[in-house]
Symmetry: C2
Subunit: 318 residues, 2 copies
């Protein structure tokens, strides 16, 4: 388990390295939701997503002699880019296992940061087994995208900053994939603002964490088919789930169509680019998943890595 001290230590490591953008407010979103909305724009984070926080903190936390041999991970995209960048900033090699159907822009960006990319079939191959083999064969340090205390602590700095910048919040909405972001954020909130309710948001087709909370244990579903590729995971993390069980009030779901509609609102009204997973928390706000009138609500736009052509295709299908 991580605690507030771990997150504060991560915040010190990330100071001056991660981008800290002002919190976005929007009259339009306030009018549409009836709430006072504060958006944490992690789409504007380095490498385009919150994932940089956790990856950098994890790499920075490794003993120097372990770090020197290089790092490795398996990721659908944003953690891949984040770890590639974190490794480059520490001047060590990175080897990344990526689903072969990950968006081309993410594959290219990861290579662009100097990492070696090894593709795999996310519907047929066991990602954890592949990573274990790779790490063993090459003498690399694995940096798991979410089941890693350094990663969880790094992600939690997003909530710490949001609270500092937005002031008191009644509610915080956090997108849930493997659970690293929400575990870190819920830990930060429990430490500094225990009255703030933390709610997770999953795509309808990928509601493994919601089901797991209901079942009281980690439930595995078939790899979900959803446009929210950052949330396309079959089960919550081993380390993240107990934190979610303890500190997260609820998980709500949004449809792919609601995500696309929200990407459109963010584009047209906020002039900002969210990838599908990045739009899921604002989508829960805009589509009435929670009673909001008058509440001060934070929501994390977790990433903005979507190619213009893919955005165009999503708009035209809608």
């Amino acid at each position: 388990m991580i605690d507030l001290d771990d997150i504060r230590a991560a915040a010190r490591r990330l100071h001056g390295v991660a981008h800290r953008r002002p919190v976005n407010t929007s009259r339009t979103l306030d009018e549409l939701t009836g709430a006072h909305v504060f958006l944490k724009a992690e789409n504007l984070q380095r490498a385009g997503a919150f994932k940089f926080r956790g990856a950098f903190n994890a790499v920075a936390s490794l003993p120097a002699e372990e770090r020197r041999g290089g790092v490795a991970t398996v990721s659908s995209g944003n953690h891949a880019q984040a770890l590639a960048l974190a490794a480059r900033l520490h001047d060590v090699p990175a080897v990344i296992l990526m689903p072969e159907d990950a968006p081309e822009a993410k594959l290219a960006a990861t290579r662009g940061y100097g990492a070696e990319v090894i593709p795999f079939d996310r519907y047929a191959q066991d990602r954890e087994a592949l990573l274990a083999e790779l790490v063993e064969a090459r003498g690399l340090q694995p940096v798991h995208p979410y089941d890693d205390p350094g990663v969880m602590a790094g992600q939690g700095t997003a909530a710490l900053e949001l609270l500092e910048d937005a002031g008191p919040l009644d509610l915080l909405l956090v997108p849930v994939g493997g659970g690293g972001l929400i575990a870190g954020c819920a830990t930060a909130i429990a430490g500094v603002s225990p009255g703030t309710r933390v709610i997770g948001v999953e795509p309808e087709a990928g509601d493994d964490t919601r089901r797991s909370l209901q079942a009281g244990e980690r439930v595995t579903i078939p790899v979900p088919r959803t446009i929210a590729d950052g949330q396309q995971l079959p089960a919550p993390g081993e380390l993240t789930f107990p934190v979610v069980q303890q500190l997260v009030e609820d998980v709500v779901t949004v449809s792919d169509a609601e995500i696309v509609a929200t990407m459109r609102v963010l584009f047209e009204r906020c002039k900002t680019v969210a990838e599908p997973s990045g739009a899921s928390a604002p989508a829960a706000l805009l589509h009435g998943r929670l009673p909001l009138p008058g509440a001060r609500v934070g929501a994390i736009i977790s990433g903005g890595n979507v190619a213009a052509d893919r955005f165009a295709a999503l708009m035209e299908e809608a």
Copy 2:
């Protein structure tokens, strides 16, 4: 002619009313251009464009008894929305003449701010004559989109803020439509940073100001067909052109294809939404119109009012 004092007075009127966003820097743009690029994100301004600055300052500068009867203008879009919002904030009526082929989102947004919209045919009708008739018939105060000292002074506050926030600049790139933004910005720069070169950017098909500078007098061209609808004007302004002649070093042009490519870069790398006219100044940076290596260069993203469907269509045609 306006001077620095007019712009400072406008800055005081706009303080706490206009948005002042942090200047955007981008490693990607720096790598692509070889310069140190500072983007002034007026796409994030109220009503989605720099036009709010000038419209609000002009309305605020009217004597109360004149303002009370309402204001009117003719505009392809962003000044229309800006004046509608400025009028609403002063609690006075606004009547706006808009080209019937202006983007639907802009027509709707202008009505959304409570203005009365009167459509006209921009290829057949004389916009100035129409406005004169309207103002006379209804007893309204005209607020011209650029040929108005209050508007020019208001627009100049964008350059004042950019210099304050970015520090010294070697070069400032400003999109040119009617010339209000560049006239105001060049006046501000001449007052506080005379060593900064001010360069205008026009769409290739709408290079009326470039031609006028070469001719030494205002040249009128057929209404240009370009995707940059905010720069779709046949001639420089009567009041703005002498300022441009005196204070602007040069005007360069960019093609529609270069504008679309730049909208894509801003979307994918900066996660920000620029409308076609809003992308023209960064397009000049990205497409080698100026010798940039090592220079500190400011560029104004003048607006972000583009519908997601139109953005999608532009991406798919490219």
